[in-house]
């Protein structure tokens, strides 16, 4: 059965402050599906999220932390949060400064859990 990427992404975009969410093949940074506000660039989000998240995960691997379940990057004006699933895939969420990291984190883990089930 084809995974319901669109449904999972739509759920994520309902979280306050979320500008968009994409499913990314992290190995090549290609967006497989996306739900984005007008004006947001899903391809750029996929490429940049894939690159930074894979780098952070390599650091985590070097520390022997085991498989990553969630990665985030915070800036002064917002955050990027990602969770891997299904081997090389990840969901990346881009949010503005009004977003609550805890809520985005929970919604993302729920979404990944739903896709992995």
């Amino acid at each position: 059965m084809k995974p319901n990427f669109e449904g999972a992404l739509e759920q994520l975009t309902r979280v306050r402050g979320v500008r968009g969410a994409v499913v990314v093949d992290a190995q090549d940074g290609i967006a497989l599906a996306g739900a984005l506000r007008d004006g947001e660039d899903g391809d750029a989000l996929a490429a940049l999220a894939g690159a930074v998240m894979m780098r952070l995960v390599r650091g985590s691997d070097a520390a022997g932390l085991g498989p990553a379940r969630l990665v985030y990057l915070r800036g002064d004006d917002g955050l990027l949060c990602a969770a891997p699933f299904g081997g090389t895939l990840l969901i990346a969420v881009l949010a503005d400064r009004s977003a609550n990291l805890g809520l985005v984190r929970l919604a993302l883990l729920d979404a990944v859990g739903g896709l992995a089930a």
Binding site: L48, V52, R58, G64, L65, L70, L73, G78
Partner: protein, 256 residues
Amino acid sequence: MTDDIRQLTAAVAADPSSLLFLDLAERLRTQRLYRPARTVVERGLERYPTLAAGFALLGRVHCDAGDHAAAADAWHEALRHDASHLEARKGLAYLDWRAGDIAAARAGLEALMHDRPGDAGVRLALAGLDAQSVPTADVTIHEDDAVLAEGTMLVDDAGMRLAGRLQRHGGADVSEAVAAELVGASREAARAARLLGLGAWRDAAVEAATGGLHVVPPTPDALLIAVRDRRTPPGRLAMEAEHAARESRVWLESQG
């Protein structure tokens, strides 16, 4: 060769009596150009044979290049000219730790702490010693935690360790391996934050199966890395990393 190294090289060539040779050697060291760094500082010391800062820097270059005996000689020479020299004393404590003499390393760092209570680097190093000096027999290592590293570490923008360390429960030091990966991640984070409209990046984190990792840039040229096992909640790890980053910022700024 970077522009600042070119400019410093030109400045030192134009005025060989200038103390700018210290800046040039330090920039070469941070770029891991150890041989030219050593040459620059040794030539400078020919003009300033009693300059403790020069011998201290020479010690750091030797140490980074892996020549610990030469590093010890240089740091002892620095202390001969200035018995209170901070970097030389830190360096010798580091060499004690590398040699497995934890008691001597602790004594050196505690003396430094007494003289420089506000020095975040010394505090971080002492915290690292505290983590290491727990008797192995008292540590319960779960099978899946045996390769997990823990600790707090400050590195420069070339991935070279400035203070602290990360050590696996099994004993292996993974500081350099983690630093090498995360310095690259730091650059990617800055780029991604800028291009995605997130502003200046503040921190990043990984939550993983057996623990968590948190990174904070205390300054644009440095990275604070904290790793804890899964008993530390992500929010607390973030707080600890941010606290250590604030102390590191003060220390880095005090270094000029």
